[in-house]
């Protein structure tokens, strides 16, 4: 074993600083004037009753420009006859990392093609993390997420939204499956 002296690693994009920047103090002053400038500008905006921040203050404020692929509120899709497409297989409830989906299955003798349906389907929006895994897990394309964000009641630890709301929010029928 022989000993090699430690060689300092060379970076291809090593920061080049001139003497002015290396002396540190002028750059400190520049940084301080930058931040205090932003501070005074925003403070002046707040003092005139305008908003001096970029933060969107959900739920009091909404952005008008959510991206098309934003994962906002859930909907349950429906069949042509208005029945939820969901077959209460519990896959979404199993995969949900926040464990906020509650499903109660029931038997529907009228519809022999889809005898199992959810009598009760609820999502707790206070704990949902909007990951979209429920949508991915669903074998029936019964649950989807829209880009707009939900309008929620405030001030409670649990915000359960039930089958009725989830169906009503945007009752979109699945055209591909509407025949069955």
């Amino acid at each position: 074993m022989y000993h090699t002296p430690y060689k300092r690693k060379k970076y291809w994009n090593k920061a080049e600083m001139n003497l002015w920047e290396k002396s540190y103090l002028p750059e400190v002053v520049r940084g301080l004037s930058l931040t205090s400038g932003v501070f005074l500008r925003n403070l002046w905006r707040w003092m005139r009753g305008r908003k001096g921040a970029l933060t969107v203050y959900y739920p009091e404020e909404r952005r008008p420009d959510y991206a098309a692929h934003n994962r906002g509120k859930h909907i349950l899709t429906q069949r042509a006859n208005g029945k939820p497409q969901c077959i209460a297989c519990n896959l979404c409830a199993t995969v949900c990392p926040a464990q906020v989906i509650e499903i109660e299955a029931a038997f529907d003798a009228e519809d022999p093609a889809h005898p199992k349906y959810p009598a009760h389907f609820a999502i707790d929006y206070a704990r949902c993390i909007f990951c979209g895994m429920c949508v991915e897990a669903c074998p029936e394309d019964a649950i989807r997420m829209l880009s707009e964000v939900p309008n929620l009641p405030r001030g409670s630890r649990h915000i359960w939204l039930h089958k009725e709301e989830l169906l009503q929010w945007s009752p979109r029928r699945d055209v591909a499956k509407s025949s069955s």
Partner: protein, 382 residues
């Protein structure tokens, strides 16, 4: 005798209340200023609801400090299994009390003579006679030295906390805190010595009074104009003393969890945090007293104003007292704001850079500053 007791009790309770309020307020200022600086809104969800109504007072998140305090009071006071019970409980207080004590020698107003405050009242005149009291808890001749003596005590609290927690992070934090505070204490002290040379006294009231003189016919003779370099060095060293961001190595979150108070929880941890915030207030007060003319406006003294050119404007006693007290706290507040600005702007140093910065850059600079000051003062005397 009794009137002395009365006045001193009043002053002491005033200062304690003022310091605690200021410390609490500073947590709010720090949050809000940081938020506004970075285009955010800042904490504003805590509210007080008026009883039996739905009216919620939010007041720009002013109640978050109270909410934090309540939370810390109600939390479980967790102790590590192998801690040293006596020292562990003592440490936060060893940190907190000297910070309050430092303020005892800082003058926050000129001299108060109750008889002149209520000129019409017979009883006041009888009771107090023509006595006057400096607005300061302990009027010591060696004020500046006492200030440094007490200021140096906080390090013991940090070391005790780190040692008694029986945790490696705490111990590392304590060692770092010790090395850092000793290094910067030296710089802090030496930066002041130049000022002592110029003023020729360590009595803080005398220092403040000398600063109401006029320099070269137009400038107020503030320490910051006499010793601009020392003022800068003092601010840097003070920021390091209070262990805030460019120099927050003792409690570097990313490396040491929370440094020497890693193992503290609930109100004991709150005491450490609060001590830090009050330390900022105290540092701002020291800076105000030494460099920014203390409790006086430019060209102002206990009688009133003497403007450059010899124009005098005498004020009644109550107006002077009110102006001085409010001017003092305003200056302290502004300096606090500046310290918060520095904290939220500058990136952190590495630990070796920190110690090198103290011993290789700051210390020689303070010595040069001291040397030049000494030569100039000597030359002016002869």
């Amino acid at each position: 005798m009794f009137q002395d007791l009365f006045i001193h009790t009043l002053l002491i309770s005033y200062i304690i209340v003022m310091l605690l309020t200021f410390g609490l307020l500073l947590t709010w200022v720090e949050r809000k200023q940081a938020a506004i600086m970075s285009d955010r809104i800042g904490a504003n969800r805590a509210y007080l609801r008026l009883p039996f109504t739905q009216i919620k007072l939010i007041w720009w998140g002013l109640f978050h400090g109270i909410a934090d305090g309540l939370k810390m009071l109600l939390k479980e006071d967790f102790k590590p299994r192998a801690h040293d019970p006596l020292i562990y409980t003592l440490a936060p207080w060893v940190m907190f009390v000297p910070v309050l004590l430092v303020f005892a020698v800082i003058p926050f107003g000129g001299s108060l003579s109750p008889a002149a405050l209520f000129p019409g009242s017979e009883t006041v005149a009888q009771w107090f006679g023509d006595k006057s009291y400096p607005l300061q808890i302990a009027a010591l001749d060696a004020g500046l030295l006492v200030l440094f003596a007490f200021g140096g005590l906080t390090i013991i609290g940090a070391m005790l906390a780190g040692w008694s927690s029986n945790n490696k992070f705490s111990l590392l934090g304590a060692v770092r805190a010790g090395a850092q505070m000793i290094s910067y204490e030296l710089v802090l002290g030496l930066a002041i010595v130049g000022l002592i040379l110029i003023y020729g006294t360590v009595n803080l009231v005398a220092i403040v009074e000398q600063q109401s003189a006029i320099l070269w016919g137009f400038l107020p003779a503030w320490g910051i104009f006499l010793q601009p370099f020392a003022a800068l060095l003092f601010l840097v060293a003070a920021q390091a003393e209070s262990q805030r961001i460019p120099f927050d190595l003792p409690e570097a979150e990313s490396e040491l969890v929370a440094g020497f108070f890693t193992e503290y929880s609930a109100m004991k941890m709150g005491l450490f945090m609060f001590a830090q915030f009050i330390e900022i207030v105290v540092i701002a007060a020291i800076f105000t007293t030494l460099f920014l003319g203390g409790y006086n406006l430019p060209f102002m003294s206990d009688q009133g104003f003497v403007f450059p050119g010899g124009v005098e404007w005498n004020l009644p006693h109550w107006a002077v007292i009110l102006t001085q007290i409010s001017v003092f706290w305003t200056k302290v507040f502004l300096v606090c704001g500046f310290l918060v600005l520095v904290r939220w702007t500058l990136p952190r140093l590495r630990y070796d850079q920190l110690i090198q910065f103290a011993w290789r850059i700051l210390l020689p600079l303070t010595l040069i500053n001291l040397l030049v000051t000494a030569i100039v003062v000597f030359a002016m005397q002869y």
